[in-house]
């Protein structure tokens, strides 16, 4: 038997992999450790094909596999009371959590990071961050109805800060406005720890009728696997694994082409198209394509389903016909979705996508083999147990170490600071506080965001929480707030996390809404740094305990590690989002004095 070396267009096949066990593979460059590579060989009983290696490498990256955080995140699922579960229609683990808000309505929301891409290309990085989180919301069967953004930038007077700030804000503005989603709030802080590692956390909220709930699973032998939306291109290849799992310092620019370019128009059309598909009950399962693209969508859909999946990869519509099979598997092209459709509904499905001018290709079908098999021009290039790619990735119990510097930091209290001694000094101090970037007016940001679109915004800038009407008849609505204070968390991660939760909870409560669910975006340094891991452990433990105490479930979120410049990690920054339910938005309570003659009360301790 002659063995061909894989090259452009000719992929490394399974039989090729069996015949050439000794072939050296670039697992290191793809971000896999040696023992991880050996584990893949063990799972497969042979060396992986290059396509399989591509899939495992992106799916086993920190970003997709949560390998350093999984052991901790379990607590969110364990520390729950029956009342916390009562209104939860979908909990952690799906694309986004779903909460029953009454009257047959449900709300889904989630916050996610796009930090590293936003440093490399601020505009596109932040824009595609919004795009990604919105697709998570659509894939639950919901109409996205609002976005928020929690931002951290470097020192305001650093020469690079303007590039990042203006790029990020313009990117969020461009994508969110163009989707027609009101921006109902967020946060903006400047601190030099975020200099080469800004944080861009985007939150989206969606609403749906109970019966419209959709999940990401591929069930039913013979059902079709359909890819629709934008064409697959060579942008963002390896973006998830390389951008989100490794620090970049000097090596930055060489990885630049790994950015993705967003097309909010394509996403807007995709939203309307999906909603029409849902309304006509034309899809069984659905998954958005984000980090790890087709690798992620196929393996997750298959492992959440009850059988296997077979697809023919050459049927993927390409923007660049010279792309290799591996590149297609890894591409992070935006604005794509994958659906499972029963054969009898395929015609109806194709009619709807055609109406919206959305390109579509039927890639294959659900099988009963239990395996995910991918062919490329008639040859098998992937044959794996889907769970081994999507679910049973490596799990690490990383070493933790108490950061001894924290004692000195805590001892250095504000008590030692000099106090103003006269009125003039007090005035000067007050003025400099008011002028400090973190307290100053943020309207130069919020004025770039559309807060009116959809006509349901009951609260937004400058209120502490945003509020949106769901039902025009009854006035039912929801409120959301996000909060985090990295400086508190640096001093004491556990207390900082509790404070962030408490503040978001209060910000929702003061609008008049009842807090019902939490989503969190945990932004930390490298998990390979034991002190960072200690901060992370403290945070998750405290947060899960505090949620139990407040009787409010965590329904989903995101972990972003490797946020650091050189060896210096960012302050631990767990951004906490709290969702509340408001039975009638007409009764909302805005911040700020409303009417002359009102009494003023100070509550609490």
């Amino acid at each position: 038997m002659t063995v061909t070396t894989p090259s452009r267009g000719v992929a490394d096949t399974v039989s090729n992999a069996i015949a050439t066990p000794e072939k050296e593979q670039p697992y290191g460059a793809l971000g896999l450790k040696e023992d991880e590579y050996l584990a893949i060989r063990e799972i497969l009983g042979r060396r992986p094909t290059s396509g399989e290696l591509a899939m495992y490498s992106v799916m086993w990256s920190e970003h997709c596999s949560y390998k350093s955080s999984k052991n901790y995140l379990r607590q969110f699922g364990q520390k729950v009371s029956p009342s916390m579960k009562k209104n939860l229609m979908v909990g952690m683990g799906e694309n986004a959590g779903v909460v029953d808000v009454g009257e047959g309505w449900a709300v889904t929301f989630k916050i996610e990071s796009h930090n590293h891409p936003s440093f490399i290309e601020p505009f596109q990085g932040a824009a595609t961050g919004v795009g990604g989180i919105v697709r998570d919301i659509i894939s639950m069967g919901a109409r996205p109805v609002a976005v928020m953004d929690a931002l951290r930038f470097g020192a305001i007077d650093h020469p690079d800060t303007a590039r990042v700030v203006h790029g990020v804000v313009a990117g969020i503005s461009h994508y969110g406005n163009c989707l027609g989603l009101p921006n109902i709030g967020g946060e903006t802080y400047f601190d030099s720890v975020y200099q080469a590692n800004p944080l861009v956390n985007a939150l989206a909220v969606g609403v749906l009728r109970h019966e419209d709930l959709h999940l990401a699973n591929a069930r039913g032998v013979g059902n079709k696997v359909v890819l629709f939306g934008a064409r697959t291109g060579a942008d963002g290849i390896g973006g998830a694994s390389i951008l989100a799992s490794d620090t970049f310092d000097e090596g930055g620019p060489t990885k630049r082409p790994a950015v993705q370019v967003g097309d909010p128009f394509a996403e807007k059309v995709l939203i309307e198209c999906c909603l029409e598909l849902f309304q006509q009950k034309l899809v069984e399962g659905i998954q958005d394509l984000g980090a790890a693209g087709i690798s992620c969508a196929t393996s997750e859909l298959a492992s959440n389903g009850d059988g296997g999946m077979f697809i023919e990869l050459e049927k993927v519509l390409l923007r660049d016909p010279s792309m290799t099979a591996e590149e297609i598997l890894m591409s992070e092209s935006q604005e794509r979705m994958m659906a499972i459709v029963t054969p009898d509904k395929l015609e109806g499905f194709l009619k709807v996508v055609e109406k919206w001018d959305v390109e579509t290709s039927v890639l294959g079908e659900v099988t009963d083999t239990g395996r995910l098999i991918i062919n490329w021009n008639g040859e098998e290039i992937v044959n794996v147990l889907p769970r081994t790619v999507a679910v049973d990735g490596p799990v690490y119990d990383r070493p933790v170490a108490y950061p001894t510097w924290i004692d000195a930091l805590q001892a250095d209290t504000a008590a030692v600071l000099e106090r103003p001694t006269d009125g003039a000094e007090l005035k000067a101090q007050t003025l400099s506080l008011l002028a400090s970037p973190n307290l100053a007016d943020k309207s130069w940001i919020t004025n770039q965001y559309d807060r009116y679109v959809m006509g349901n915004t009951a609260l937004s800038f400058p209120d502490d929480g945003g509020m949106v009407r769901i039902d025009e008849e009854s006035g039912l609505g929801f409120a959301v707030a996000t909060d985090a204070n990295g400086r508190y968390c640096q001093l004491d991660p556990a207390q900082g996390a509790r404070l962030a939760l408490a503040e978001a909870f209060r910000n929702v409560a003061v609008t008049g809404a009842t807090p019902v669910a939490v989503s969190d975006c945990l932004n930390f340094g490298s998990p390979e740094n034991p002190e960072v891991m200690w901060q992370f452990a403290q945070t998750v433990e405290a947060l899960s305990d505090a949620c139990l105490e407040l009787d409010i479930p965590v329904t989903g979120g995101n972990v972003s590690f490797y946020n650091q410049t050189g060896d210096v990690p960012i302050h631990p920054t767990p951004v906490i989002a709290v969702l509340g339910v408001m039975d009638d938005v007409a009764k909302r309570i805005p911040s700020g004095w409303q009417d002359e003659g009102n009494n003023i009360y100070l509550l609490g301790t």
């Binding site: 291109g233 082409p257 370019v261 909010p264 128009f265 935006q334």
Partner: protein, 92 residues
């Protein structure tokens, strides 16, 4: 007065959403022969005085640094137009 023309295009491997939208419009209008449209920018710089090597070096730097974003765009040409002679000279 001479004019320096700098042309910038989105990188070929990256998505050009604008171009995609226009391609779609042409196809809806019935065109079948134009397979792709990509849209970039054309900068016309009016220069006071002569165009010398110092200025061209400066313009090349602006082109790379300000007129284009090297992460997502390429400078495809820099040309000097001299209206008095009607000549066009490639300068990059």
């Amino acid at each position: 007065m001479p004019t320096i023309v700098v042309e910038v295009m989105p990188k070929a491997v990256l998505l050009d959403p604008q171009g995609k939208a226009v391609t779609g419009a042409l196809h809806r209008l019935g065109n079948t022969t134009i397979s792709e449209v990509r849209i970039g920018k054309r900068f016309e710089l009016t220069v006071e005085g002569p165009v010398d090597e110092t200025l061209l070096a400066e313009v090349r730097a602006y082109a790379d640094d300000m007129f284009s974003n090297s992460v997502i765009e390429d400078v495809v040409s820099i040309t000097v137009l001299d209206p008095s002679t009607g000549s066009a000279t490639e300068a990059a």
